[in-house]
Amino acid sequence: MTKLQLITKGFVKDNPTFVLLLGMCPTLATTTSAINGLSMGLATLFVLVLANMAISAVAPVVPDKVHIPVYIVIIATFVTLLQLLMQAFVPDIYATLGLFIPLIVVNCIVLGRAEAFANKNTVLDSALDGLGVGLGFTCSLTVLGIVREILGSGSVFGWKFISGDGMLAFVMAPGAFLALGYLMVLFNKFVAKK
């Protein structure tokens, strides 16, 4: 697999949201608007790349029986770092997403990549893999956020083009499931097919 493929497979073949269906909790909870989806995606991307690199670096010396606790400690450390940095330097985004940042620790995408890829590949490959999957996740969340924001609030990235309320259900949980389901159908029909 070439370096480029390591990045691109996260978008289509191993797309975490539409193909692997990993990390559904933050996906459904944070995509009420395009900007929230994008921010959550970028936060996860940050953790994924750093955690993948750290884990691939330490994996050869970690005893088998304690590898999961070690990975979780490493992931949790990066998430807490991110939380502190966001709180200090981007308090506005932190105010919206703060609640969901700690949940990145238990996001199956991060531990999933650590187990499936980072612990048997080089640091560079793991970083690229994290970047690819992270970007795939970010794009999926942004698309889902855009769809829900258009239908639910009549705006895109906060720019309102229809006055009034829109279909409020799409801002709430039921709309998240509906929008995700239809996007999954479209994605698998047109993009992911062989």
Binding site: T32, S33, V58, A59, P60, V61, V62, P63, D64, K65, V66, H67, P69, V70, V73, I74, A76, T77, T80, L81, L84, L85, Q87, A88, F89, P91, L99, N119, K120, G152, S153, D165, G166, L168, V171, M172
Partner: protein, 190 residues
């Protein structure tokens, strides 16, 4: 790939990982503490300032009980006498705790209100932070002349469309704040 496990290397590995991670976190915590505190102080000052008249000296936080919960308030002194109060008031909204900063002048009139934190439904209850008509009605709301209940409950508060529960909670938070000030004898209208 992985090393064969035994008690010693498992212990050393976990201990080492935790040590390095906590050292890293302690460093970043120390580094970010100042900006985080500065941001929180600024946000609090903005929230207090937004619900009080301009001018005068603001006191430090003081404690009182609002709606049975311990909370805090700030006194705005003008010419040595308390002119207005900002009370932090927390109630249960539709989606979780709803925390308001309620500004009340010494004659018992609500000066202004603002939402400090909430977890109301986006697009419905969350409009309590953006709906101009709903927010504007609190400016100059006099609980001595008007009833602090939503119109559905025979009061004088215009609820947000489709968000009666949030509007009720908001109203209750204002009511609790006014009552708390009354109970400490801060208002001189009765």
């Amino acid at each position: 790939m992985a090393v064969q496990s035994n008690l010693k290397n498992m212990f050393v590995c976990l201990f080492g990982t935790c040590l390095v991670c906590s050292a890293l976190l302690a460093g970043v915590y120390a580094m970010t503490k100042a900006p985080i505190d500065a941001t929180n102080a600024r946000l609090l000052k903005e929230a207090v300032g937004a619900v009080l008249p301009e001018g005068g000296e603001l006191s430090d936080a003081q404690t009182l009980e609002v709606g049975g919960q311990p909370s805090e308030y700030y006194v705005l002194n003008q010419d040595g006498t308390p002119a207005a109060y900002a009370v932090k008031s927390t109630v249960v909204g539709f989606g979780g705790p709803l925390t308001l900063m309620v500004g009340v002048t010494a004659d018992g009139t609500v000066y202004n209100t603002s939402v400090l934190s909430h977890s109301e439904t986006p697009g419905l209850g969350a409009k309590c932070t953006t709906d101009e008509k709903f927010m504007a009605q609190w400016k100059g709301f006099n609980p001595a002349e008007k009833i602090l209940k939503v119109k559905k409950d025979n009061g004088d508060v215009d609820a947000i469309t489709a968000s009666t529960i949030t509007s009720r909670a908001y109203t209750l938070a204002v009511e609790n704040a006014v009552n708390a000030l009354k109970s400490i004898g801060g208002l001189n209208n009765d």
